[in-house]
């Protein structure tokens, strides 16, 4: 195993982790501020990818597609919040799960009706095609750009929450919802904005990842469930926890898939080693989650109480 290959896989893990962070950040914000579990977050990821792919094909520009995907996901998020989610804040978690599960069915079939049953393809923009030399390895320029975008969004999100008036309201909403409403903040508007912000992040992740995977119905839910693992590990409601959890999950999952079959190959025959290694690698992050639950039941960075 060469150092170059190892470094490449490590970067893939970081890139995967940062895209998971975009998903997890929205989920954890929505939970932190509104106390809502949103299963349909994966559908917003899917909407971002589909609109981006369709718009990129129509306008011939990835960047216009990306903007369209982001805007569509944010708009869909705001619309969902105004029509459905708003009625769920006072309900128990079971009702939230069911209503957002119903939204998944509606949005998945809706996307299938609009875009047809076949996957769409979104190609990497010309500007970011090819590879760059990083010294120890050559690495895909597009994936490197994803890492850069992920970091930039994380910093932007931190600035938004730490430095702006909206951020103060979000943090206040996380610690005491009734109180900030009593202080005259328009809480309904704040909820819609936070939900749309989370939706935009999910849509962005979907559009960006859409260029390296196929864009298809059902693409959102596996990522959603991984984002759940991320926030269970990181501590629900915590942006910092989402970042740490996302990087842990991204790197451990990618490296596990890369290393475990090779480790087992040392004492099993190759075909068997591939099977055992792959099966175990697919379970690794859930075992990590179990470990965190045993040691820190409220996650690594508990945000509440």
């Amino acid at each position: 195993m060469s150092v170059a290959l190892f470094a490449e896989q490590l970067l893939n893990g970081v890139q995967f982790g940062l895209m998971l962070f975009l998903m997890a950040a929205g989920l954890t914000l929505v939970f932190g501020v509104m106390g809502l579990i949103n299963l349909a977050h994966g559908s917003l990821y899917m909407i971002g990818a589909f609109v981006c792919a369709a718009a990129a094909a129509a306008f011939g520009s990835f960047w216009l597609g990306l903007i369209a995907g982001l805007a569509a996901a944010a708009a869909a998020g705001a619309l969902i919040e105004l029509t459905v989610i708003r009625r769920l804040y006072d309900r128990d978690h079971l009702d939230q799960v069911l209503a957002t599960f119903a939204l998944i069915l509606i949005l998945s079939e809706g996307v299938r009706m609009i875009f047809g049953p076949f996957p769409l393809y979104l190609s990497v923009p010309d500007l970011l095609r090819g590879t760059v030399d990083l010294g120890i390895t050559r690495y895909s320029l597009y994936r490197l750009a994803l890492i850069g975008i992920g970091i930039a969004v994380a910093i932007g999100l931190w600035l938004l929450i730490a430095k702006t008036r909206l951020g103060i309201q979000i943090r206040a909403g996380e610690s005491d919802r009734e109180m900030i409403a009593a202080l005259g903040v328009n809480i309904r508007w704040l909820y819609t904005v936070v939900f749309a912000l989370g939706a935009a992040l999910a849509g962005m992740a979907g559009a960006l990842v859409g260029a390296i995977q196929s864009v298809q119905v059902g693409m959102g839910e596996p990522v959603l469930i991984l984002a759940f693992v991320v926030i269970v590990i990181g501590g629900i409601g915590s942006i910092k926890g989402a970042m740490v959890g996302a990087l842990l999950v991204g790197v451990i999952d990618t490296m596990g898939r890369f290393l475990l079959p090779r480790i087992f190959a040392a004492f099993l025959d190759p075909a068997q080693a591939m099977g055992v290694g792959a099966a175990l690698a697919s379970m690794l992050i859930y075992l990590l989650m179990a470990l965190v639950l045993i040691l820190r039941p409220r996650g690594l960075f508990p945000a509440h109480g």
Binding site: V97, G275, S282, A290, P297
Partner: protein, 326 residues
């Protein structure tokens, strides 16, 4: 009291309807509807399992497909070894006897529920939902990437497993077997709910602190209920595998977990016959709307959304009045 009597009438009508529909189907020579009724009975059985955890115990498990799928794989793997004659582990051969398979399906599902429950019950609320979902996804990916038993292609059961005195390849025999097991499970559920254990479980759901104050250990009681719940759902999985004569990772997919919750909600949470009503609605919806449009799930989503937002209590709540459940 009037409402309780009304619920018993609704229950009796449901139990009779589930028996009469396949009888009529058999009479007019439409075995397809017999198999459909068998599907309803088995899905309802899986729902009875989840209803124990979710309805009585208030544990919103979004991962019950794991037990359903494990039960299915137990049936599939044991039948596979019985068919090929290859030993499973050192010396142990497979089996095509349903009773023996069910025992293992229930035991192994219970064991999995014990591990997942012990970890997940350290948390509650929204954490619990996400963790049960994540562990089910772990089992899903494991079966997907484990090549020995078909991986993502699944595992066929060439000949349905056998039950003493019945010819399980005949649709009616398979139906009456599933129906019998469902009725036994419902009796078990009713007895459990009426027993001290059920009272303790419901007390914990309503107020864990108060239950703890009178000397009930919330963790122990909930874990026991969770294990029983997993066992019943696992048993249903083994029967579903025999009905479809096929197991695949799709049985463990998150959609299946969602479907099981939907069955309980459509029927009525915590109601004895809630899963029966819910499974019947879901299967009927799938057959009727699935025949009209390929986008039937879109309409299922709309109806589900309507039920959650505006008509809580499900079908039994609608027919027999609101439950004391709350």
């Amino acid at each position: 009291m009037a409402e309780m009597r009304r619920e018993w009438i609704v229950n009796a009508v449901l139990a009779m309807a589930l028996l009469i529909v396949p009888l009529v189907a058999l009479w007019i020579n439409e075995p397809f509807y017999v198999t459909l009724a068998t599907r309803v009975a088995i899905l309802a059985l899986a729902g009875v399992g989840l209803n124990l955890a979710l309805g009585l115990g208030g544990m919103v498990s979004f991962g019950h497909a794991a037990y359903f799928g494990l039960g299915g794989y137990v049936a599939g793997i044991m039948a596979h070894h019985a068919f090929t004659g290859l030993p499973m582990w050192i010396g142990v051969t497979g089996s095509n006897q349903m009773l023996w398979i069910w025992l293992w399906a229930a035991l192994l599902s219970g064991f999995l529920a014990l591990i997942i429950g012990a970890l997940s019950l350290r948390t509650s609320g929204i954490f619990f939902i996400m963790i049960t979902l994540a562990f089910a996804q772990m089992i899903f990916y494991f079966t997907l990437s484990w090549p020995a038993y078909g991986g993502e292609d699944g595992l066929p059961i060439f000949v349905r497993n056998q039950f003493p005195g019945l010819n399980t390849m005949r649709p009616w025999d398979m139906f009456i077997l599933s129906y019998g097991v469902l009725m036994l499970a419902l009796v078990f559920f009713a007895m459990l709910r009426a027993a001290r254990f059920g009272a303790a479980l419901m007390a914990i759901r309503q107020n864990p602190d108060r239950a703890a104050a009178v000397g009930i250990s919330p963790f122990g009681v909930k874990l026991a209920a969770f294990v029983l719940s997993g066992m019943i759902t696992g048993l249903a999985g083994a029967m579903m595998a025999d009905l479809t004569r096929f197991v695949s990772p799709a049985m463990i997919a998150w959609q299946m977990s969602g479907e099981l919750i939907v069955i309980i909600i459509l029927g009525g949470v915590g109601r004895l016959f809630g899963p029966v009503a819910g499974a019947a609605i879901l299967v009927a919806f799938e057959v009727i709307f699935g025949g009209i449009t390929e986008h039937w799930q879109f309409f299922l989503g709309l109806i589900l959304l309507g039920v959650v937002l505006f008509a809580r209590g499900g079908l039994i709540g609608l027919l027999a009045g609101r439950a004391r459940h709350g």
